[in-house]
């Protein structure tokens, strides 16, 4: 962990020194890159807003709690403890929401409990699929977006089932 913090500064230093040797104008080049930042964020914004408003509605309307309630028997059958069912369902929609939820679970059940460890692995092995799809396919009129989204959601779910299994003996 200590050495990992060296990675980013080393990466920057190495690349910038190499660029200097290659006689790249660092100031102009860096600014040229940053120029793309605002248009990029602007192009993502509408899709981010739509997705985040939707997940907020999903959460606050109580739909998410309802769906969690329906699914938790199926989840326990697959070895996923009901305590983390909500986390598993929330992760595809919201990164910040699921981070808050993970922290809550860790404080309620303890970081070293089976539930706590399970929640950590489930969180770490899955991704915010809908958020990523909003970002990557922003403004793209792509047919059959269902396939990659469905595939990613299923793969993440398989990962969560495995995580809960591994946590039993690791």
């Amino acid at each position: 962990m200590k050495y990992f913090s060296l990675v980013i500064p080393t990466l920057f230093l190495a690349v910038f020194l190499y660029a200097l040797i290659k006689k790249v104008k660092l100031y102009d080049g860096f600014a040229e890159g940053v120029k793309e930042a605002a248009p990029l964020v602007l192009s993502l914004f509408p899709y981010l807003a739509a997705i985040l408003i939707l997940s907020e509605l999903f959460e606050r309307s109580g739909l998410s709690a309802l769906v969690t309630g329906w699914l938790s028997p199926a989840f326990s059958f697959l070895g996923i403890p009901p305590e983390i069912a909500k986390l598993v369902l929330m992760k595809p929609f919201s990164g910040s929401g699921s981070t808050a939820l993970l922290s809550e679970i860790l404080h309620t059940y303890g970081a070293d409990s089976y539930i706590g460890r399970c929640a950590c692995c489930a969180y770490g092995s899955s991704e915010t699929v809908f958020y990523i799809s909003a970002v990557y396919f922003a403004g793209v009129r792509k047919k059959r977006m269902f396939t990659p989204i469905f595939v990613s959601l299923s793969a993440n779910f398989i990962g969560v089932i495995c995580a809960c299994l591994f946590c039993r003996f690791m």
Binding site: F12, V15, Y18, A19, V24, G29, F30, A31, E32, G33, V34, E36, A37, A38, L40, V41, L44, L48, A49, L52, I53, L54, S55, E56, L57, R60, S61, G62, L63, S96, T99, S103, L106, G110, D112, G116, R117, C120, C121, Y123, G124, S125, E127, F130, V135, Y136, F137, A138, R144, M145, T147, P148, I149, V151, A155, N156, G159, C162, A163, C167
Partner: protein
Amino acid sequence: MGHILVLFRIKSSMNAIFAVVFTLAAAVFLFTDPDGFLPAMLSGGEKAALLSLDLLAVYCVWLGFFKILEKSGLADKIARLFSPLAKRIFRTDDREAIYCACGNLSANMLGLPGAPTPLGIKATKRFLDTGNDRAADLLFVLNATSLQLLPTTVIALRIAAGAENAMDILLPTLLSTLISTFAGFLLLKISHALRRKK
């Protein structure tokens, strides 16, 4: 099997998901808590605005860095190094797409927050422009199944919650994320193969 194929035919699935979830949620609000509806939407909008600001800050750093990487010629070297592998995975000869996709995947593995996204978007645009939809799908699935080697957020939260050994979830997380990425890769291949048969 039939109903799965019907689902595959839904075009622009995000519109379908949005319509279903939005209508259901709005209906529930109407009957249980009509006053909570607008605040919920506004709070979503607020989150989007705050997140965009965060993203802007992160992209400033990484896009500047990537431009230096490009100008120094290192980006081209990286692309050349990975191109034999990338040609097989993504089936493309496009140098820029290869560099962007490889940079995206390595930034993902290192868990550099925010860094993978700009490169991933560039690579996706490039793939779609050249009609290589499958490569775009594959890159998305690789991103969306979390190839992260060091879950920094989880470790930080565990330390904050007073874990005795904050790192002991590394191995199970790594194994399950490898499995999920591999499962995503396989499922995508299967769905592409199914579509070719039709």
